[in-house]
Every structure is written in C-alpha cells, then in structure tokens.
C-alpha cells in the first residue's frame, strides 16, 4: 500500500514535470513537442535522480554517524563543490562541463580532506571526528568561496550565488545519461551495506559481535555516500533538506531497516525534488527560482514540525 502510493507519486511527479511549464503543451502533442523532449523530460529525470541520490546519501550517513539529523552536506562536500564552482566561474573556465567538473573535483577534494581528518586518531574512522571535520572543512571552504565572490564582478557574483542555491536549468540528456552510468555503483555499494548498517545502529562493538565488519563498512559507506552527493552537487548545485527530510519521513513510514529505507528514500527524494523543481520554474514564470530555495522553504517548516513531534514523543 505504502509502496503503491509512492510509485503512484513518482508517476505523478514526473508527469507534472513534463506537463507543467510557462509554455502550454497540449496533451496530444506531448510526445512530439521538442520542449518536452529536450527540456522538460531530461530536467524532470535529472531532478528525480539527484533527489533520490541525495536522500539515499542522507539516509546512509545518518546510519554511519548514528544520528537521524545528519545531512549529506554536513560532511563539508557542499563547501568543496561550491569553492570549485565559484573558482570555475571566476576563472572563466570555458565549455559546458567546466562548472560541473570543477564542482565535482572540489567535492572530492573536500571528501578526501574530511576523510583524512576522520582518520586522525589512527586507523579507525571515528564518525564524531568525521562530523567535526566536515563542519570545519565546510567553514574553511565557505570562507575562501566568499573571498573569491567578494572580489569578482557583479554578473559573476550573481551566477555564483545562484549556482550555490542549486538549479536544474543545465539539464540535458547528456547529464541524465552520465548520471545513469555513474549512480548505480555507489547505490549498489550502499544497498549491499544495508544489513550491516542496521547492526551499526547498535554501536560499533555490538555490531561487530553480530557479524558486521565495522571499519571497512564505515569506509565504504562514507565513500559511496560522498560520491552520490558529489555527483548531485556537480550537476545541480547545493540542494539542501532533501537528504534530511526524505529519510526522516521514510524512517517514520518504513522503519529503520535499510533494505527498505534506501529504495523508499530514493523514490521519495526523487518525488520531492521533481516537484520542487517544477515549482521553482513555474511559480514565478517566466523567472526561475533556484530549486534549493524551494526545498528550503518546504523543508524548514516540515523540519520544525518533525522536531516538535520528536521532542513530544
């Protein structure tokens, strides 16, 4: 029943992404319309893939740091990606792939730095140190990013600022295809780690006694979740709250078994971001809002409600 509803919502979200827009496309011409084929459909699919990836990354990081309030951007990746993107804009790097690649490289660099700092106490990865390192790296990269932005021209500044709030306007079939090739590996790694992650919820030592190989597990989960987040941020900027809100709702509805939590989060994240992106480009048409603003405007009140319920249980 829950699954049926979720699949139904998935269909509805994608359909509305294709149907709605500033230009009216009659139903009969849907299949032939270049607007639908070249713009709305790849954009809707991209939003779906990015939303799903962020939600799964969030769910797995929550299990890794054993805290239901973890978010994929808590580990400093957004800062690294933002720095990469802003540097690419400030340096006028040419070509359509310069920006996403620079953001991707920035995210990976931040991931490597946070990971290295997480290992500071020895060979064991300490999730608490990991979190702190993420915050520190995030603050550091944000400082450099702001320095670059403050020294650049007004037009560049606007571009950089808008990019930081996320958007799907660069969607194309090429980006969708690249993601379709890239995403299965980290998703599969996380899905394969689903049961050990259930055990990790008990703490590292009890998890080991129940058969989880904790150190390799933590590494794999951190790397796979970071790779998902890095790809998402590279193609669409920093989109907050999807990775926090969606796993939260999925946990309420499906429980904490990651075998069901991951697929539910993926579909739920896809639905949320597709709807948010449709809103972002239609609400004030023909102007477009950065989608991160829509997810934040939706996400913060939702989160407040959740927190309230949480503290009242």
């Amino acid at each position: 029943m829950k699954w049926l509803l979720l699949v139904l919502l998935t269909g509805l979200a994608l359909l509305s992404a294709v149907l709605l827009g500033p230009t009216h496309v009659p139903l009969a011409e849907l299949a032939r319309s270049p607007i639908v084929r070249d713009l709305r459909l790849p954009r809707g699919l991209l939003a779906f893939l990015v939303g799903g990836s962020l939600a799964v990354a969030g769910a797995s990081l929550q299990a890794l740091v054993r805290n239901p309030l973890a978010d994929p951007f808590l580990l400093g990746l957004s800062g690294g990606a933002g720095l990469g993107a802003v540097a690419a804009i400030a340096l006028h790097l040419p070509g359509p792939w310069a920006l996403p690649l620079a953001a991707f490289v920035g995210a990976l660099a931040a991931m490597a730095l946070v990971y290295r700092m997480g290992l500071v106490g020895g060979a064991a990865l300490d999730p608490r140190v990991l979190l702190l390192s993420g915050v520190v790296v995030g603050a550091f990269t944000a400082a450099i990013t702001t320095a670059i932005v403050s020294l650049s021209e007004a037009a560049q500044l606007r571009n950089a600022f808008l990019w930081l709030w996320g958007g799907m306007s660069d969607a194309s079939w090429v980006t969708v295809r690249v993601l379709c090739l890239y995403l299965p590996l980290p998703l599969l790694v996380l899905f394969a780690a689903a049961r050990p992650l259930d055990l990790l919820a008990l703490g590292e030592e009890p998890a080991q006694y129940l058969g989880a190989d904790v150190e390799p597990l933590k590494r794999r989960v951190y790397l796979a979740a970071s790779l998902l987040t890095a790809a998402a941020v590279a193609v669409s900027g920093v989109i907050g709250f999807v990775g926090l809100i969606v796993p939260h709702f999925a946990r309420r509805l499906w429980g904490h078994h990651h075998r069901t939590l991951f697929p539910a989060s993926f579909l739920g994240g896809g639905v949320l971001l597709t709807v948010a992106d449709t809103l972002a480009r239609t609400a004030l048409a023909p102007r477009e809002l950065p989608v991160g603003i829509v997810t934040a405007l939706l996400g913060v009140p939702l989160f407040a409600i959740l927190l309230r319920r949480w503290t009242h249980v």
């Binding site: 299990a63 054993r66 805290n67 239901p68 020895g122 899905f191 394969a192 049961r195 050990p196 259930d198 055990l199 919820a201 008990l202 703490g203 030592e205 009890p206 080991q208 006694y209 129940l210 058969g211 989880a212 190989d213 946990r251 429980g255 904490h256 078994h257 075998r259």
Partner: protein, 264 residues
C-alpha cells in the same frame, strides 16, 4: 570451544599491559565466571575472545582457530555476546531487535525466511520475552531489555555465549532469573558460556569454573571453592571479607572497616 594460552594484550600507546599471561579453556556445557575489580582486564579478555582485538603475545582460539582470524559473520554464528550496554540510534521493536541475531546467517541480499522467524520466536520464548515482542525497545525496563538482548544472542544460535555484566543495575529477582536462565541454557543446549560479573556470590553458586583477575593477571582460577578463599579475595579486591559456605559453595561477606582506635 574457547581457549586462551598465555594471552597478553597491551592497548596501543598504553604504558602497561591490560592483560598478562591469561590461560583459560571453556568447553561445551561449562559456565565460566570471570571476576575481578574494575579495570582488571575483564572486558579486554572479552574483546580478545571475540577477535575484536588480537593478543600481543600468546594465543586466543575459538574452535582451534585464532579468534582474530575469523570472518566476523562466521564468528557471529559461533559465538554471541550479550554486551554490557548499547543504545540503538533509531527506535526499534523487540522482535526486529532479536531478528538482528539472524543477520550473520542471512545471505547478503536475502531476506529473513520462515525458519529465521521461527528461531526468533523460539529465542523470545526461551527468555520469557514473547509477550514483549511488539513493544518498542525504549519502553522496556532494565530487566526486560536484558532478556531481549539474551534472546538476540540466542537467535544467533551460538555455541559460545559471552555475557558482559548482564545483571548490572538489575534487582535481586531479575538477577537470579537471569543466572538461572543462563545456567539452564548451558546445561540443556551444552553451550559454552563465559559470564563477566561483579557478583562474587552468584558466580560462586552458578559457575563451574571461576577465573579471578587482578591487574590484568590471573589471581586464581579453578572451581569456586578453590578460588574464592579469604586470602585471595581480600588480596584482589583490597577489602576485608569473611567467607562462609552455603549449599556447598563459598559465599563472600564484605566486612565493615574497623573503627579507628583513635576515634571516640
């Protein structure tokens, strides 16, 4: 089942050994109690026995194979632990928590089957926890939670059971129930069991063998009557005691410290 031969361990960066030259052999159907003051190396011994730590000298073997060399899932099918404390990061129902004990038996992508569910129900029943199955873990009392954790360990279908201070913070009745339950499991299923506890008297009454640790070394080991003598207990715990025999087993009575002769 579990063998330690001259096992020694020093934590990285520590100045002294946490465990020195400890030997122990636990066979099926035997309940061994591990006694000792705080910081005497009991938990370190548990970690060595379960292969989480590898000894810096000597050998620790489960079924004749170095504990640290076991694949974690395979070891979790042979040996189960009732940990001293744990806290689930996410809310969970009792039945699901006990099902975690089946995880080492499941294939990577396979779901728990009817057989697994039957084993979970049986484990719950064995620990008198069937009525708790649909409750949330957070609503359980200390004694109930401990029964659930024992049920989870039994769901692993282990041959070696290790309990780390399972009755800490339990009242007399729950404490006795747990010791009785562990004893009958050991007898009925021929489990090999190691019980870490601070309850010298219960250890003496329920265990076949007692290993008394002091500052990481074996202060005494053997049958309760051999180990729990006044001299040994006073030396290890650094407190005056009297020893009396009850049901043929030594029982320890800690003495009040003598009033100083200078006080009036």
């Amino acid at each position: 089942m579990l063998t330690l031969r001259g096992a020694t361990y020093r934590y990285p960066g520590a100045l002294r050994n946490a465990l020195v030259d400890v030997s122990l052999a636990v066979r099926p159907g035997e309940l061994h109690a591990l006694l000792g003051p705080n910081g005497s190396g009991k938990t370190t011994l548990l970690r060595l026995a379960l292969g989480v730590l590898a000894p810096t000298a000597g050998a620790v073997e489960v079924d004749g194979r170095a504990a640290a060399d076991w694949d974690r899932r395979a070891l979790a099918r042979a040996a189960a632990v009732v940990p001293q404390r744990e806290e689930s990061a996410f809310p969970q129902r009792v039945r699901d928590a006990v099902m975690l004990g089946r995880y080492p038996h499941l294939s990577r992508f396979g779901a728990p089957g009817a057989a697994d569910r039957a084993i979970v129900e049986r484990a719950l029943a064995q620990c008198d926890a069937a009525a708790l199955a649909d409750r949330w873990l957070t609503t359980l009392s200390g004694g109930e939670y401990q029964r659930v954790r024992l049920a989870r360990a039994l769901a692993q279908e282990p041959r070696l059971l290790v309990l780390d201070e399972p009755t800490a913070s339990l009242d007399v009745r729950h404490e006795m129930e747990l010791f009785e339950r562990v004893r009958s499991l050991v007898d009925a299923q021929r489990l090999a069991a190691v019980l870490i506890t601070h309850h010298v008297n219960l250890a003496s009454r329920f265990a076949d063998q007692v290993l008394l640790l002091g500052e990481g070394r074996v202060a005494a080991s053997g049958a309760p009557a051999q180990v729990l003598t006044r001299d040994t207990v006073e030396r290890v715990f650094a407190w005056p005691v009297a020893i009396q025999t009850f049901d043929g087993r030594p029982q320890m009575i800690p003495l009040r410290s003598q009033p100083s002769t200078e006080s009036h």
